[in-house]
Symmetry: C2
Subunit: 348 residues, 2 copies
């Protein structure tokens, strides 16, 4: 049975944990915001389950608790944020806000982020842009953990794409947040634990051969083969290579630091007001979503959903009734609280 914690108490608790290890209290709050946001939305793989790992990365210095982040700009519409190994939530939140201010005045803007550590759920940053009334697009590149057509072993990363589009007030924003893999690594483990065969064409053995046997599967196949592989490679170029911090060539090369965890990102912001009337835009987004909902249903018992709708409903439910925390994760959080001298939140 999961432990259920009221959302506000969970946020305060996680903030208190990070406040013990990150000198800037605003940054501690930001890390908590991003992780609790994912937990609220039911994206548990990217939620407070990651707190222990973030604490570990900060303790080891792999993530820099005192990062001196620095924006540089070579042109009016764009900037590059050198994150100095700041945790992803700290770096990408700053980058999203900078992208919003560059995009709003010029119709479009972008911020590249170099050398951050664990971005978390990238939908948080595009949602933040959508909350400002703008369209957000995020590309991220990480460490190779996926196969590539014709290659033996891991080749490219499951690098994600997120697109968020604001709708009118009563409808949650459209929020696409997807990896370029056919299946998440964590899902492969679930199939293994449940002794179920994997679907065809989503996972591979260590040598890159497709398999449906979860005992043999060690990595995901790219989404749709060449398409997901091509997106992943393109995202490495749009992020890591663009900001001068290549991962793929360094990981597979002779670079002694090539396998140290790091991620790079590119956030793009579009201002609907530069393309037409912004009120017409959001109304038309809503009309499109209404149209989708009204299409003939294949199963009247199952709702037709747009991206982000399900997790927005989960967020509403969990905000009201508390956030379920897996018992194993709860034990880890208790241990962290004891170690750092932080009081545990009350259960719901």
């Amino acid at each position: 049975m999961p432990v259920v914690i009221p959302a506000a108490d969970l946020a305060e608790f996680v903030t208190a944990l990070f406040t013990e290890v990150v000198p800037d209290p605003g940054r501690a709050r930001t890390i908590s915001d991003v992780l609790v946001w994912a937990s609220l939305r039911g994206v548990d793989s990217h939620g407070v389950a990651r707190v222990p790992r973030y604490l570990e990365l900060l303790a080891s210095g792999e993530a820099n608790a005192n990062a001196r982040m620095r924006f540089t700009a070579g042109a009016a519409g764009v900037a590059v944020l050198d994150a100095d190994r700041a945790p992803g939530p700290v770096a990408l939140t700053a980058a999203a806000d900078e992208a919003v201010s560059r995009g709003r005045s010029r119709g479009i803007g972008a911020v590249g982020v170099r050398r951050t550590v664990h971005t978390g759920a990238i939908g948080y940053y595009t949602s933040r842009i959508a909350d400002a009334g703008l369209i957000g697009i995020a590309f991220v590149a990480g460490m190779p953990n996926m196969s590539y057509p014709g290659v033996t072993g891991v080749a490219v990363a499951t690098s994600p794409l997120s697109i968020a589009v604001p709708a009118t007030g009563d409808r949650p924003a459209v929020l696409l947040d997807m990896a370029t893999a056919g299946i998440a690594l964590g899902k492969i483990a679930q199939y293994r634990n449940n002794g179920r065969q994997l679907p065809e064409g989503v996972a591979a053995t260590a040598d890159g051969t497709a398999t449906t046997d979860p005992a043999l599967a060690t990595m995901p196949l790219p989404l749709g083969g060449a398409k997901g592989a091509g997106m992943s490679l393109a995202f490495e170029l749009l992020t890591s290579v663009l900001v001068g911090a290549p991962i793929l060539s360094s990981f597979h090369g002779a670079d002694p630091g090539g396998r140290a965890h790091r991620q790079n990102a590119l956030l793009v912001v579009l201002d609907p007001a530069a393309f037409g009337d912004p009120a017409t835009f959001t109304a038309s987004v809503t009309e499109t979503l209404d149209t989708l909902h009204g299409l003939p249903s294949a199963d009247p018992a199952a709702a037709i959903r747009y991206p982000g709708e399900h997790s927005a409903a989960a967020a509403e439910e969990r905000a009201a009734n508390g956030v379920p925390v897996n018992p194993k994760v709860w034990a880890e959080l208790q241990a962290a609280a004891e170690q750092l001298g932080v009081a545990l939140p009350a259960k719901a």
Copy 2:
């Protein structure tokens, strides 16, 4: 056996055909450029096989041979091109050039395109941006022709994404050009004609149920289910809805013109020089591609390819040895030539 035509002669012939029906000779040449480019690269589905259809659209007025295209801009970094139903090659080539000029000075720029007809291979426009030394990203939305999870019948479009990234001189640009569908409609027909079962999870019956029987399959399933469906929906919002020309809501609604063919697009340009040293960038792109090529091969007889590499090799081969034209397409081109009084090209 295909008819083989020298590339330059084919280009001249196709230009001559369009010159008979499009008053502006520059536009006729542009339409030919885009279609012949696809044929050269082996993308025959988007190549000169489309000439008869383009001529038909121009003859019927569905595509406007005399389009009065007009750029409007609401902010420095972006513009919207009202294409006035110009054929896609005419509209998107102009849009790509405008996006290059906006992006180069500001680091990033974008052009939305409303009301064009048949974009052709969208890789042409992103390649054109990469040829100018910049990164090109294109999103396109078209007429619904694909299923969506939970919906009976066609719901969304197989809307494509293209990303082009320039490499150094001796390597062709990285060119991703992919639909958001699990399989192309034309490929379903090929399986049907060859009596072969479809792969799992790529095609659906008319009511949206997944099928591997090509006789029952009438439309593609979205790439990876929710991922491809979400991308397609997001692209409709980033293009059609952003430029004030929604397709999805109009197609499924009461709008009497809702089912008339049209497409919308968004082209985004990023200037590597605004993010760092541009020579370092292209050198690092090349190093990344070299690294990919050097990874352990699953099959020493099969090359590891990056997106666009195979079609660049095809273009080189076809430029040297001529472009094979399917006999059925050749017969249609002969008929068009006769009707329009245009001389046929000599065979290779």
